[in-house]
Symmetry: C2
Subunit: 365 residues, 2 copies
């Protein structure tokens, strides 16, 4: 079977710690800690938990000097490159760079003094640190307010955000600094798509894509997957964060699911295919699929396992799954690589599928 | 504020019961029952529950004559148009049309006899019933097997599926039947995107879009939102089903969330904006956001409520939320339409936000 592939847009390569962001590398997943960064032990623990879940980079907030004070210890103890999230005070950026972070995130709209931004850029250049230059919908609105340029807001938000980003980039170009990742975040999915399409046309820097303030876990995952899925399907996006209010580990898993589903990263875990609920199902698919998924969650190999409730779509799916089960009345047929292996009584479906998948994983290693 | 809009592709209009599918109407959400359709009471109960959750159409499986036997009672007792899902036997389609369904779903690849397909088309034409003509990835594979045309499979799946659909449509054109919705489903998100782009270029029938066998709730929602989000953002898709193994009501809610997040349907409920977790948050955003969301779930008015953990992004978001709270240390500021109302002690955030939102909802009605 040959499936179509997403063609990624060509970008520069940006080194971030030992890794690279840009079209030459697979799209990466980021998350952000929600511990106070000044609590070094808690932050390191969470960074490494997020890395274990699959995050390639972890971002930490550094609102105060107490936060940057512990950064060098966090950087040393972390298994992935650390990104410092800088807001109003350029000094936090300079301190974070001195502490050894791999990248900083800067919204130059929050730092009024151009000379201060230049100090940050020079420090980053001297240390080989990358900078994400980010524009938010909020910055555009604030600026329009402070400039009393209310007329601006009659133009579409994506245009305004791209223009603001161009203004931000002036000073970086003046300093001949190109170790840059761009981002433009809105809470609105359509705006996120539109502004990133603009940016992707205008610059060849890699893009960090995400939706801000996406809401609670359920709606946040859907809104983020819709916006990021649209962009990634067009080849736009080099590093992503799915963000919503909740556990950052869940954000990482959601981000990986998104990249796996678009085949933008190699899946190193079991992919569970299950048929949707319908009146034809001979078994209760959902709990069986969930039991199988959870029993195989520790496998770090790519593998497709299908749990199918009836014989209508089952055999077709079984053809290209590594392991599949198709339920009939009171029993089910177990397949490996599309070949029927044997019939299994309904009550032994989970153990049969799990045993077969484990045997296959063993063989592959 | 002006946000960019999705421009939908122009399609024909197809009448389905009292409603219309196509570019002239908002994108609709479907789901499918998982009760045995022969159990009329259980099926009616579930259909109406799905309609209450927001489904515009509900599909039921009719594998046996016992299933079509109860259909006319189901159609009469249902608050939304019923679609019959027909598989191997054309007689089920004819019986379903006689029972008064508004639309049938047919995969002509499963009905070998062209004369039988024509009987279905004539019955549908006589009764003003629409037909969804669907091709699945599985059908392409089965056909390649039975035809021993294995060479076919060296070509990309999206090409093969679109070609198969063109073959299916021959007989409909021969019968001059145009009351058609098209669909092409794969479990693969990239194939789903690619094949629907092809179909959207080739025909002007409305499209039903969805990903099959998308897995369990979490991965299924993300895979579906990524593929459907990409298509919808390009203006492709007139009716959707998010399908995964689990509760069909959750599918409906996920589908609505997707359409709301792309502003393809008017939201008639509270949209909860919450900031992502980070070290700056002065409150535990997630549980507060979840409490607010659940307390306002019964409101059937469009309204934006933002729960923001700190003053960095908070005031910007508050500007364009109907009601917002931005947390500081031990207290929070309550906003209405971007205007500060008052300071609220941290422990009273939920009740203050809920009261303000309810007051606004009252006023709007």
């Amino acid at each position: 079977m040959r499936y179509p592939e997403i063609r990624r847009r060509n970008t520069r390569s940006v080194k971030v710690g030992g890794q690279t962001i840009g079209s030459g590398s697979p799209v990466s997943v980021q998350s952000m800690t929600n511990t106070p960064t000044s609590d070094v032990a808690a932050t390191v623990e969470q960074v490494n938990r997020l890395a274990e879940a699959g995050a390639q980079f972890v971002r930490v907030a550094v609102p105060t000097e107490a936060d940057t004070a512990g950064l060098s210890d966090i950087v040393k103890a972390s298994s992935v490159p650390i990104i410092a999230d800088v807001h109003f005070n350029f000094r936090r950026a300079v301190e974070a760079i001195a502490a050894g972070v791999a990248k900083i995130r800067l919204n130059p709209g929050n730092i009024a003094d151009r000379g201060q931004v230049k100090q940050v850029i020079r420090a980053a250049a001297d240390s080989g640190v990358a900078i994400r230059v980010g524009v938010n919908e909020g910055s555009v609105v604030d600026r329009a307010d402070s400039d009393r340029r209310a007329a601006d807001l009659s133009r579409p938000m994506d245009e305004l955000m791209a223009e603001r980003l161009a203004e931000y980039l002036d000073v970086f170009e003046e300093c001949d600094f190109q170790n840059i990742v761009l981002s433009a975040k809105s809470h609105d999915a359509v705006t996120t798509i539109a502004v990133n399409r603009r940016i992707a046309e205008q610059w060849d820097y890699p893009l960090h894509i995400g939706v801000t303030h996406a809401g609670t876990a359920q709606s946040g995952a859907i809104r983020s997957a819709a916006a990021l899925g649209a962009l990634l399907a067009e080849g736009i996006g080099d590093t992503i964060r799915i963000s919503y209010a909740g556990d950052p580990e869940a954000e990482v898993v959601a981000g990986l699911e998104l990249l796996w589903s678009l085949r933008l990263r190699d899946r190193d875990r079991v992919e569970l295919i299950a048929c949707p609920t319908c009146g034809r199902a001979m078994i209760d698919v959902a709990p069986i699929a969930e039991q199988v998924r959870s029993a195989l969650a520790d496998i770090r190999k790519p593998m497709t396992v299908a749990v199918m409730g009836c014989v209508v779509n089952g055999p077709g799916e079984a053809d290209h799954a590594d392991v599949a089960i198709c339920a009939g009345k009171g029993k089910a047929v177990l397949y490996r690589h599309g070949k029927k292996l044997r019939t299994v009584p309904a009550e032994h479906i989970v153990e049969a599928v799990v045993a077969e998948a484990r045997a296959l994983a063993e063989k592959a290693s």
